[in-house]
């Protein structure tokens, strides 16, 4: 089974992220966790709140993009930080449940501003050992 995790790939100006997971729902959840790992120290986030993100239908790339955009809005709009995420597939849609809390300026500090999750060079690939996603965050 593929180890769930992410790494940064070379990119001149922005953040190009590669995420791996065993299956597509896990890939979406791991991508959300990667996004928040690039925003802040996730270890300092308490699991006191819960939100659900719905990918809707479409190609895997479209569903992942939708989930990531919604996840970024959790922070940009509601100042909600994600500690961890899990996902299931239901009728072709991915439902990602995230646990976390609202920003507490005393405990949380942001590493950087992420302006957007872009569709540029966004890929989802299935290989022998699982799924891999690559996407670019505009910072």
């Amino acid at each position: 089974m593929t180890r769930r995790g992410f790494r940064l790939l070379p990119h001149t100006a922005d953040l190009r992220v590669e995420v791996c997971a065993a299956d597509f729902p896990s890939l979406c959840a791991a991508s959300v966790e990667a996004l928040f790992s690039l925003l802040t120290d996730r270890r300092k986030i308490r699991r006191s709140g819960r939100r659900t993100l719905d990918s809707g239908s479409g190609h895997p790339e479209e569903r992942l993009l939708s989930i990531l955009r919604q996840a970024l809005l959790l922070f940009s709009l509601d100042r909600f930080l994600v500690r961890d995420a899990g996902a299931i597939m239901e009728s072709g849609r991915i439902l990602v449940t995230v646990r976390g809390e609202h920003v507490d300026d005393a405990r949380h500090s942001a590493y950087r501003e992420i302006k957007a999750v872009t569709a540029h060079a966004l890929t989802v690939e299935e290989g022998p050992s699982g799924f891999t996603a690559r996407f670019v965050l505009d910072v």
């Binding site: 940009s76 500090s109 569709a119």
Partner: protein
Amino acid sequence: MRFEDISLSQVSETAWEIPRTGGMLVPGLVFASRGMMEDIVRDQALRQVMNVAHLPGILYRSIGMPDIHWGYGFPIGGVAAMDVAEGVISPGGVGYDINCGVRLLRSNLEMATLRPRLPELVAALHREVPSGVGSTGTVRLTPPEMNKVLAGGSRWAVSRGNATEEDVEFTESGGRLPGADPDAVSDVAKKRGLDQLGTLGAGNHFLEIDEVEEVFFPEAAAAYGLFQGQAVFFVHSGSRGLGYQVCDDYLDVMAAYMRKHALNVPDRQLACAHIGSDEGRRYLSGLAAAANYAFANRQLLAHQVRETVQRVLRLGPRDAGIRTVYDVGHNNAKFESHEVDGRRRDVLVHRKGATRAFPPGHPELPAAYRDVGQPVFIPGDMGRGSFVLAGAPGAMRLSFGSTCHGAGRRMSRTSARQSVPGKSVFAEMERRGVLVACTSRKTLAEEIPEAYKDVGTVVDVVDQAGIARKVARLRPLAVVKG
């Protein structure tokens, strides 16, 4: 010269052409020295110049500036002009940070007298000018007031006493783009912008105190009110979360339009709609509204700088003399009139990481600058300084009245961070004589001088190409970053 399957022919000391191949409707044109081209070919920027050349209605050339680097869809440092009747508008050709730009404030202060007060001044500016991720401004807009900002831009700030008539006169397009429609901006975008007006943001946005170190073009420097040894203030920011959301919202609208009309482009981030379509016109209305938010944002930041400096130095407005030299964006799409193939045409010019650079005599310039050309500001990195340029006649012939916008990154953020820990950046900058105040050490490490091209070589290219002329070099002495 070839790079992978891209063929490049050097057409002058500072310009390279990418011939039309495949579905390209026009050739590519990139301004760069031979040495810089070796850096440029290392990422996907040239491929993106070629991709942009596929867009319907593109005229003359798909253009890259010497600070070009890999963006999403369009390269950063890209210019593309579209025929108004047949062409398209693409949010990816503007960027997420709509009307991100730079304002330069001059002063009556000489750096020699200001220098002893710099630590106190920088601390005050860092405290009083909101910066960093999630920062909120001193203005909390109500929804009706938000609509006034989106429609009025800097004019809204005049009505609140946060701007002078002179500020507005010396802002591109008078600080207000026509055609803005607040209803073309989604509720989510408006909500993101409610408490961010008057905030600097993070990343490469900054507030800087510089010294005018060298003057190259005395007539223009005099017109802009600049002199050697003078203290000046740089503000670099944009439309904040509101602008990012407008871009995201309309990328979806454009994607649906392309499916409906079977438009094919090489990269989905080049999603676009015909300028005259409902979708295209709606985006242009939202774009103008977001651009107005950015004008108002930089105006409030400039006002805060002015107030803070006067308070810390105990000077009145007349003695401090902090006045706007100019405010100009570098992420926008604007209707302009240009000569193309010997014929004057109305075009829509996309500038993404590129600055409008109108030459002497252009009717859109303030009267005070009409003899010398439009001021253009090219922020470099924190260590090597910045430049003031003036628009030059070549820009109208070669680049739709455009020039570069910065030094351009050459190192990834990861490489930059790995090359130096955040703590030692402070020490290194201090060694170079630059005071730094910042909210995030990670951001600071990503913004080390070595992460950028040498801004001096970038402006030498545009100066030599005749699309802008060097006016003055500025030396940074203090930087406030988010």
